[in-house]
Amino acid sequence: MKITRKDFLRLSGLSLLAAGCKQAVQSVTQPASAARIASTRPVRWGMVIDLSKCREKDGCSACVHACNAAHNVPQIANRAHEVKWIWTEPYATVFPSAQTGYAPQTVAQTMVPLLCNHCADPPCTRVCPTQATWKREDGIVMMDWHRCIGCRYCVAACPYGSRSFNWEDPRPSIASINPDFPTRTKGVVEKCNFCEERLTRGLKPACVDACPQRVFTFGNLADPNSEPRQMLRARFAVEREPELGTGPSVFYLV
């Protein structure tokens, strides 16, 4: 079959057009990987900590141990170099403005579990010069340890002391390394990630699962019917340092 120059040009033009259309349709039907993650349902992960249940088993630190084991958190004896994701402090230290002096000893002296508050408006992400820490769509304040340059601006900015700096190589201070989670290296900042790696597998955070008293209630704060929202409706809750306007996602039932 003989093909004229005019037919050839028409044919090639049409096929180019078809290829272009196919790509346009594909880009609409299969959005980029980043867009695939952002679901239409708004998510803001949050946690409610019931201190009355925690008080029943004072001195327990199952949540801390579970977190340390899951995330290779080093146990460094030198307090100036210590690294912590979830830890405990006395009630009076955590809520200095929420005490009367007449509260029962059991309340004033119990240890309160503390972790990153995953603030609605986190000061740490605002000061990071490399965007190694940022707030995800689902409310988790994430860290990219690849990008952290160890300037410690975030450590200074966080009003809750939730961030730790690796002053030394953490590996010798880890009892047994969990290969499923990276360790950190000397010179980077680290903190609680709300078990982001477990959430993607449909699991709850390690501290929530480890607690024998079921002190922690984890869920979506953007959903009015979620478990933490129901608890917050039923009982009065406090946040740490609400006057700072950071909007913590971790609430305490005193």
């Binding site: 980043a34 994430m142 990219d144 290969p179 360790t183 290296t185």
Partner: protein
């Protein structure tokens, strides 16, 4: 893979850390988890696969292992310490 593994690792890193996207669909439709420790080192040995070639070509730079652990050598060290 020899020429472009670094681009792939950086792409996977961005997808997982920045966008929470852990699913990789290969050309043949097989689905992999974007994970250095679980996926790459699930079959490859760090000594035989990474280190040998890096040593030969004089590229001694990768600091992956400052944080990421090699499950095979971890298993070996634990079996040695607990007789």
């Amino acid at each position: 893979m020899r020429a472009a593994h670094m681009q792939m690792l950086i792409q996977w890193r961005e997808d997982v850390v920045r966008y929470g996207d852990r699913r990789f669909v290969a050309f043949n439709g097989k689905v992999y988890e974007k994970s250095l420790t679980r996926t790459c080192l699930g079959c490859h040995s760090k000594q035989q696969f990474c280190d040998r070639c890096h040593a030969y070509s004089g590229v001694s730079g990768p600091y992956c292992w400052n944080c990421h652990s090699d499950p095979q050598s971890l298993a070996r060290s634990t079996t040695r310490s607990t007789p």
